[in-house]
């Protein structure tokens, strides 16, 4: 269901929307809706990356927020040079655990 929402936008944005809508031969409102959807996609990813980088959320939690699969988000992390942030200290005991547990 669509909801009506009115907002104030800078003149240059409206001019650009008109220009692009004309080029695409679509209604201005359709173009703005598409721009909003694409904008939200980006904002979701940016928020997920920010919270993950700050150590506030885990990987799958970030993928949930970004509305992406874990694999896709890990790919974005890689492209942006964001790693797991795991330190060597935090890995202490991991190998011993693996040696004990794995057959």
């Amino acid at each position: 269901m669509m909801k009506i929402f009115s907002f104030r936008a800078p003149e240059e944005i409206m001019k650009e929307a008109e220009k692009l809508a004309e080029l695409e031969r679509i209604d201005k409102s359709i173009l703005i809706r598409e721009a909003l959807e694409k904008g939200f996609e980006r904002i979701r990813i940016d928020i997920a990356i920010k919270l993950f980088s700050e150590g506030k959320i885990a990987t799958a939690e970030a993928s949930d927020i970004a509305n992406l699969s874990v694999g896709e988000l890990m790919q974005i992390f890689r492209e942006r040079g964001i790693g797991s942030r795991i330190s060597l200290d935090e890995l202490q005991g991991s190998l011993e655990n693996a040696m004990k547990a794995i057959k």
Partner: protein
């Protein structure tokens, strides 16, 4: 041994091409949410997810429902939800180790007194237990390096462990 895994670790192990070697002698259980996450990757055409989904279909990776009460406690105590939250819940319920390459999940596992292990350590353990040869172990660590998940200096330490 039975091990519980989260989605990012399954993806890294699949990328490193050692997931099949690991499940040969070990049972892997994942919670429903992790399965959802890997299935979503398959829908989006992520190659690693295809292998994971195939192993689930063949019942080589088992899917279990995590208890709601445990999930609630894990969320409340460690602020962990989504796949990592459910994976840690299952690990607590079964009192089994968790495979995770997530910083927040590692620290939560430590606080919950649950044994944890990461993909590079699994690579080294499989190599030291002669489940994979040196060539495969080197390849796996190189793939993990390519994934960009671990800092270069950490990867170098693991490379040294194979020599």
């Amino acid at each position: 041994m039975t091990l519980i895994a989260d989605a990012s670790s399954l993806i890294l192990l699949a990328k490193a091409e050692i997931l099949s070697a690991l499940i040969e002698k070990n049972e892997i259980i994942i919670p429903e949410k992790v399965h959802e996450e890997t299935a979503r990757g398959k829908e989006k055409g992520m190659p690693d997810s295809f292998l994971i989904e195939k192993l689930i279909e063949e019942n080589k990776i088992k899917v279990e429902k995590a208890d709601e009460k445990t999930k609630g406690k894990v969320k409340e105590m460690f602020g962990l939800w989504a796949g990592e939250g459910e994976a840690l819940s299952l690990a607590i319920e079964h009192n089994k180790p968790i495979i995770t390459d997530d910083k927040k999940c590692i620290n939560a596992a430590k606080a919950a007194n649950i044994s944890f292990m990461t993909s590079p350590d699994i690579t080294i353990a499989l190599f030291q237990k002669k489940q994979i040869d040196k060539k495969k172990a080197v390849f796996a660590i190189e793939k993990l390096e390519e994934a960009g998940w671990y800092k270069k200096e950490i990867i170098e330490i693991y490379k040294e462990k194979i020599k």
